[in-house]
């Protein structure tokens, strides 16, 4: 099935003299499990920011299911089905885990605009949020404030929130980053349990994750596409080893 969800054409972004992202043509099919790897400062996160509309591109286009969304605002893109997680948690630290998810869900359902019915009366939203928490094994801490959770579980909340938006395209920026390896498996399992139809693009350094999760891998180096292929191909690619895996040695040893 080559049903393209997300596509970029010659997408570029420069900051003054520095070219962060350079002429990237990229396709993400429905149900894809795609990993984006590359050395630090390769422009991976900038690329995500261009896809989600946090940054406007200096050149090129972004298409969602064939529709040009280059000029569309971030909030709009979310409504159209592009959701993301952040490299560093961006959560409502002062609020309970449940509320964190509820806020996301009521934004998706459009309930967030209503002023004169109490949030507590929208049991449908609360139920859905609880369901989500259960599937992410967070139900037991639903009442805790984010600030009271260990980092690993905070990452899960981050995921739960994005899933609560029912995205078509899901962009995961190093979901396991900063999670102690003891907890990281929780994240990975959660990712594996994601609904098949969602197109997932994951930025990841940890090769274990990449090989375990991705069907295709794209390597990005200094703002440009460097190589693309199956995990095996990429691992076999000498050039990639040289510029990238060479540095993240242990990943190669796993192969």
């Amino acid at each position: 099935m080559t049903d393209i969800r997300l596509e970029t054409q010659a997408l570029s972004r420069r900051f003054g003299a520095l070219v962060a992202v350079q002429g990237i043509d990229f396709k993400l099919a429905a149900g894809a499990r795609h990993a984006l790897i590359g050395p630090n400062g390769a422009g991976k996160t900038t690329f995500i920011n261009l896809l989600t509309g946090v940054l406007p591109p200096t050149r090129g286009r972004v298409l969602l299911s064939g529709r040009d969304i280059t000029g569309t605002a971030q909030a709009e893109r979310v409504k159209l089905g592009i959701a993301r997680t952040f490299q560093i948690n961006r959560l409502f630290r002062g609020l309970s885990v449940l509320e964190n998810v509820c806020i996301a869900v009521s934004e998706r359902t459009g309930a967030a605009g209503t002023m004169f019915t109490a949030a507590g009366r929208r049991t449908d939203i609360i139920d859905e949020s609880m369901q989500l928490l259960q599937t992410f094994r967070l139900a037991d801490v639903a009442r805790h404030r984010i600030s009271e959770l260990p980092y690993g579980r905070q990452r899960l909340v981050e995921l739960a929130i994005t899933i609560g938006l029912k995205p078509e395209v899901l962009l995961l920026d190093e979901p396991a980053a900063g999670v102690p390896s003891a907890e990281s498996h929780i994240i990975l399992e959660a990712i594996e349990r994601l609904p098949e139809h969602i197109a997932v693009l994951i930025i990841e350094h940890d090769m274990d994750v990449v090989f375990r999760f991705a069907h295709r891998v794209t390597v990005m180096v200094s703002g440009a596409l460097f190589a693309e292929g199956t995990p095996r191909e990429i691992e076999a690619d000498a050039r990639v080893r040289e510029v990238y895996l060479g540095q993240a040695g242990h990943g190669a040893s796993h192969g």
Binding site: R108, T114, F116, T117
Partner: protein
């Protein structure tokens, strides 16, 4: 589809209902017994201190003004030192309408004041709310200063520093006159207005809209990332807050039958700001606690020795800021939490 399960009716409702977090959320907006206390106190005050009703009106007006600020500053995290702009707009709306005998019916005047202040809030909000932090602080401050200067230039109409004297305020419901010497009618009127406004604000902050405002305060970037129209929400919130501030201003003009430039002054903005943070922002009742404590302190310390008032207030503010993050109610929470923490052992 496994993870993003949509609500599956009864089964999940039960599952949610069982969870304490869900229960807490479902019940949060429900009235608690102690929420009746402020109003009981308000009515008790009327009978207990018939000679202090002028002061009582001042208190009620301050509470309402602080409440309006709480919506913008406490819930949406809009840091403003210019809220008196809207207080003044409301006060002058009532003042000018009355002085030139255009309109003196108190209730409709309040609504007109709310509209006037709301419009100013909307217009300034459209422009200013793109910024944050100190920039926003300065912009709100400058906007207020702008209005102040304008009102001073138009002293021929606004009365300037000397103000608009002896405003003729019509009787409430065409029956209850405002007696300048005994503020009974004024007080009950103000209490009623405050109650209505409070119910409005309370409904608002417990609604999904209010929830999303809290979200904006807690983490704007996340709100953007979940597709929330942040700026629109802020503007709506700011406009409502402005309108309420306008009502507070109008109420002060009616209860004192007087308006002068001071209603637009930094003095007033700073005071209400202090009152709110003193009581605790983002929690509805902070406005009440803050206003009572502030005015009580002012009343008693100022009688002991004028400078003592400023010294005492200063020390209190510093202590609150250092040890009781988020005001007196914040301190209460902290103590409560500590107590709960101890209990199991």
């Amino acid at each position: 589809m496994s993870a993003a399960a949509s609500p599956t009716g009864a089964a999940s409702a039960v599952s949610a209902g069982q969870n304490p977090a869900a229960r807490a959320l479902i019940r949060r907006h429900r009235l608690r017994w102690w929420e009746a206390l402020p109003w009981i106190a308000g009515i008790a005050f009327y009978f207990a201190f018939p000679d202090y009703l002028g002061f009582g009106c001042d208190l009620l007006v301050t509470i309402l003004f602080a409440l309006s600020l709480d919506l913008a500053l406490g819930y949406a995290g809009i840091i403003t030192l210019g809220h008196a702009a809207f207080f003044g707009a409301g006060a002058y709306t009532v003042g000018m309408l009355a002085t030139y005998n255009i309109w003196t019916e108190p209730i409709s005047s309040l609504l007109l004041a709310a509209v006037a202040a709301g419009v100013i809030g909307l217009l300034s909000g459209l422009v200013l709310l793109r910024t944050t932090g100190l920039t926003l602080l300065m912009l709100t401050l400058s906007t207020m200063a702008l209005l102040y200067e304008a009102a001073n230039m138009g002293a021929a109409y606004t009365g300037g520093f000397d103000g608009l004297p002896s405003l003729p305020i019509g009787p409430v419901f065409g029956v209850f006159e405002f007696n300048p010497l005994y503020s009974n009618t004024q007080y009950l009127f103000a209490l009623a207005v405050l109650f209505v406004c409070f119910v409005f604000v309370r409904t608002l902050v417990y609604s999904p809209f209010g929830q999303s405002l809290t979200g904006i305060r807690e983490n704007v970037l996340r709100m953007h990332a979940i597709g929330s129209p942040v700026r629109r929400r802020l503007i709506v919130c700011y406009t409502i807050s402005a309108a309420l501030a306008g009502v507070a201003g109008a109420l002060s003009a009616q209860t004192t039958a007087f308006v002068n430039l001071a209603v637009l002054g930094l003095d007033r903005s700073a005071t209400v700001f202090i009152v709110l943070i003193l009581g605790g922002y983002g929690r509805l009742y902070g406005a009440f606690i803050g206003a009572v404590v502030y005015l009580a302190l002012e009343h008693f310390l100022a009688q002991i020795y004028p400078a003592a008032w400023q010294l005492g207030l200063g020390l209190l503010l510093v202590l609150i800021a250092l040890f009781a993050r988020n005001g007196i109610l914040g301190l209460g929470d902290a103590l409560a939490r500590r107590y709960r923490a101890r209990r199991p052992t």
